[in-house]
């Protein structure tokens, strides 16, 4: 069985006569279908995990890299002065695109989850936050810290690098894990189909011998098996994929927090990717059964 357009077409157009020469195999056929469906279901989740982790790594890596925060920790009466001082320094700092002190209302919103909405912020020595947006070239954090230390004693620069790096790393690892899972699932499908095809070929030794003796070519014999297993893998994986996608759709949405945590799911054109899972399963079955059939036929004259 050679990989050619013709052999791929034969899988779909089929030949009713050629189909008949291999006896039907009810139970094993259903096992193959089930296994393909289960693998595709898992593959949908592995794919969703990879893509979500990828989005997470990207947003943490890019958006947060472009921002920094300065905390002004000072007694109430000096807070405004120091804030203005820090903003002035920032105006003349290379790599700063914009800097802006958060208003009381914004800080209140940030703290509300912990202290409730009724907190009177103006009476408390809560640090003032300055949000710094960096240009593409970025700021020299060490240099800025030195300048701030000299003129604004209460300023603490947090460029997020400390907590961002491990998060980005974790998200990247998670994405890698997702892809490794997909590769493993693909390999498991190949192994499962090979075992099933090998079993079918062994069980049909007499069929293959007889066909060979009456003048059937290797391609004719192989196609009868390849067609079955490819269509089974394709069908089973199709069902598994649909179920997997429905499940992903029905996952509870993370709501507002989801903006940050980017929930497990597909976004935009990524919805197309799971559709490739059955195609991949079919291709794997095509190759695995073809190889198994070739091995079996080689032993025959």
């Amino acid at each position: 069985m050679r990989l050619s357009l013709g052999s791929i077409r034969a899988v779909f157009t089929g030949d009713k006569e050629a189909d008949k020469v291999v006896p039907p195999s009810g139970f094993t056929a259903q096992l193959t279908l089930f296994a393909a469906a289960a693998m595709a279901f898992l593959a949908v989740f592995a794919l969703a995990l990879s893509l979500a982790a990828g989005r997470l790594a990207q947003s943490w890596g890019e958006e947060l890299a472009r921002s920094a925060t300065i905390r002004i920790v000072a007694p109430l009466d000096q807070r405004q002065v120091q804030t203005d001082g820090a903003l002035r320094i920032l105006e003349t700092t290379r790599g700063v695109a914009s800097a802006r002190a958060l208003t009381d209302a914004e800080q209140q919103a940030l703290l509300a989850p912990w202290f409730g909405p009724d907190l009177a912020l103006s009476d408390l020595p809560v640090p003032r936050l300055i949000e710094v947006t960096e240009t593409a070239e970025g700021i020299d954090a060490a240099g800025l810290r030195l300048r701030l230390a000299a003129e604004v004693p209460g300023a603490v620069l947090d460029d997020h690098a400390r907590w961002r790096a491990p998060l980005v790393k974790a998200a990247s690892r998670l994405r890698l894990l997702g892809w490794v899972a997909i590769v493993l699932i693909t390999a498991a499908v190949a192994a499962m189909i090979t075992l099933a095809a090998q079993a079918a070929l062994a069980a049909n030794g007499q069929v293959i011998r007889v066909l060979r003796l009456v003048g059937a070519t290797d391609d004719y014999i192989a196609t009868a098996f390849v067609r079955r297993f490819t269509l089974r893998a394709l069908g089973g994986a199709g069902v598994g994929m649909v179920l997997g996608m429905l499940t992903v759709l029905l996952l509870p949405s993370a709501g507002d927090a989801g903006n940050f945590l980017t929930g497990l799911g597909f976004q935009g054109w990524h919805w197309v990717l799971p559709l490739l899972i059955p195609v991949l399963a079919g291709a794997v079955a095509f190759a695995a059964t073809g190889a198994a059939a070739r091995r079996t036929l080689q032993e025959l004259t």
Binding site: E17, A18, K20, V21, P23, P24, Q206, V207, R209, V210, L211, R212, L213, V214, G215, A216, T217, D218, D219, Y220, L297, T301
Partner: protein
């Protein structure tokens, strides 16, 4: 058609056949005899490319078997009808479908369903078993079905290994007449058999040569039969 030149064959131990030269000319009729285990089936297998000679050359329709690819062998088998000693069928298909199998696998489906099939089935006396499954047939019926399957492609050569091993005298005469008929149509026929009576009966109708395997060699048997 089929030509063996100084052919030797061994299954791994000593040589079973050695220095065999044989030419099956178009339209010839040969019998192959010899004691059990002499190598008749082996010789037949060499003739349809199921075995490759360990020495010498086998030429099928002018081409050396060693130079033939697997697909070429498949095509050769469409031109050589074989009745095997251990007849095998596709046990899940009906007798009629089995007999038409050579047509199906070579893409000639229309003919597989055609009227020739019915005629052939009645020739071998299996009209009542057309829809039976092969395991439901008697030994003799299986051999008749195998003969029908061997000739349905109207092959150039018919090789029959003990085709009358399990049938009564009348039926063996009938099968023989079918083979003689095919031979008269120009087909080359080679029959391996122990049945000297069959050979004698045939010689009345057709000029048949008798080959005998003895001591690893092949000899043309005399007219003493």
């Amino acid at each position: 058609m089929i030509e063996l030149e100084n052919v030797a064959y061994s299954y791994g131990g000593g040589e079973l056949l050695s220095d065999i030269s044989l030419k099956l000319a178009p339209g010839s009729f040969h019998f192959l005899t010899g004691p059990s285990g002499a190598g008749k089936t082996t010789l037949m297998k060499l003739c349809y490319g199921a075995l490759l000679p360990t020495a010498g050359h086998v030429r099928l329709f002018g081409a050396d078997v060693r130079g033939l690819g697997r697909d070429d062998i498949a095509v050769v088998r469409r031109r050589v009808g074989v009745v095997h000693q251990d007849v095998q069928f596709l046990d899940h298909l009906s007798v009629a479908e089995n007999v038409a199998l050579p047509l199906s696998v070579s893409g000639r489906h229309e003919e597989a369903a055609g009227g020739d099939l019915g005629e052939l089935m009645s020739w071998v006396g299996l009209t009542n078993h057309v829809n039976a499954l092969p395991p439901e047939l008697s030994g003799g019926e299986r051999q008749r079905a195998a003969l029908a399957r061997a000739v349905i492609m109207s092959p150039d050569v018919v090789l029959a290994d003990e085709p009358t091993g399990n049938v009564d005298w009348d039926m063996s005469q009938r099968l023989l007449r079918l083979l003689i008929e095919l031979n008269k149509m120009g087909k080359t026929v080679l029959i391996a058999t122990h049945d000297l009576g069959l050979i004698r009966a045939t010689k009345a109708h057709v000029q048949a040569r008798v080959l005998r395997i003895a001591n690893r060699k092949i000899q043309l048997a005399g007219a003493d039969l």
